[in-house]
């Protein structure tokens, strides 16, 4: 898509429309796989439903294998992909806050909006909480700014900074994924079933 846009086969003005279409498709898939339910989302922490873990792990593994095959065949250049910049402490603190919110609310921001769309009350409260959080952050931005913009490491990846071989990394990563699925399944069988 980036290729189509940067070579102006699709003009830049279409960016928002493409984004909306992709967003609608993403929301539809989330909702139809039951991710708009906070019980299903929180299940991964209580051990009765590992759908979240399985879905996101599978998505990551399939995407990375696909990308590296495309790179090998020359259809795509891995070195030219966008890498999100790393702000170490911002990422750690933000991740911790997000984790607490995830367990307490039973949603991550994307699925929260899915819940809002189908009219779940807890999702409405959850998104209201997000908005309050945004408000507090914006008001106290000057206080948070050194953490928000500091500890900048650039657009780094594990493979670059530890000089790992990407292919072995992917192989080991996919084995970890499969092992995680097996263990998750074993845990799920031992835990008392919850109906929701």
């Amino acid at each position: 898509m980036e290729f189509l846009i940067s070579t102006s086969i699709i003009p830049e003005q279409w960016d928002s429309i493409i984004a909306i279409c992709i967003g609608i498709a993403f929301g539809f898939v989330l909702e139809s796989s039951g991710f708009s339910s906070s019980r299903k989302m929180a299940g991964v922490f209580y051990g009765y439903d590992f759908a979240v873990l399985k879905v996101f792990f599978t998505a990551a593994v399939v995407a990375v294998i696909g990308i590296y095959y495309l790179d090998y065949l020359g259809y795509l250049d891995v070195t030219k992909l966008y890498i999100h910049p790393t702000y170490v402490w911002g990422a750690i603190i933000g991740g911790a806050i997000m984790g607490v919110g995830f367990i307490a609310g039973g949603f991550c921001p994307g699925t929260g909006l899915c819940g809002v769309a189908i009219g779940k009350l807890d999702a409405w409260v959850y998104v209201l909480g997000i908005l309050i959080g945004i408000f507090i952050f914006s008001e106290l931005y000057t206080v948070f700014e050194p953490i928000y913009n500091g500890y900048y490491l650039g657009n780094i990846t594990l493979i670059d900074s530890f000089e790992w071989n990407p292919y072995w990394t992917i192989f080991i990563f996919s084995i970890i994924a499969v092992v995680a699925f097996v263990v998750a399944d074993m845990v799920r069988k031992k835990i008392k079933k919850v109906f929701y």
Binding site: V61, V62, I65, Y68, Y69, Y72, Y82, H84, P85, G154, N155, Y167, W168, I170, F171, F173, S174, I175, A177, V178, F181
Partner: protein, 218 residues
Amino acid sequence: MVKKRIAKILSFRYTMMAAILILLAGGLVLLPKYQESEGIPAEQLLSNIISLERYVSTDQISDKLISQDPSFILIDVRSEERYNSYTLPNAINIPLKKLLDKEFESYLNQDQYDVVFFSDDNFYADQAWAICNRLEYKNLHVLKGGINKWFTTIINPKKPNENMSSKAFELYTTRKAASLFYGVVYPDQTKTKSVIKKAPRKIITVKKKKKMPVEGGC
């Protein structure tokens, strides 16, 4: 019976999918690796080679020199001796052997000026052009015919025959006027000996443009 068999096979579906995933990931490890060629892709190089902008004529360069166009750098890729004996006005000497030296990189790797290579013919200049193209430098050109052509067209233009078109005569007068600019003396001028004027070599330092990181996000 068939249904039962299908059900039996399907009960292993997750195991099979996990096996496929690991096989595919293992395939990545086992695939024979090849050294990816760095620099310009072949198609791009080809399109640069057949591009009309690759060659500039001696007339164009002469025009630019006379009008003191600041948008280009002339680069003489001949040896230093040849450069010292004669060169084009304001040309910089980068012998072909030293083309990849660090000290000359700032002249070549920039996108503010047009770089024009020349040598005696365009043979060595073309080699320099190809090397710099491989390094993905921009705005590269070659002086068609090099200094030999420069002599036969600008310094010593051939007088057209009477039966040639008026355009040929126009070109001749332009070239003759240009040669006067470069200090050539014609016998029909009642001038005493004049020294061939060689413009001082100007060195233009070029700041290398910093590459900005790609912006964006999810």
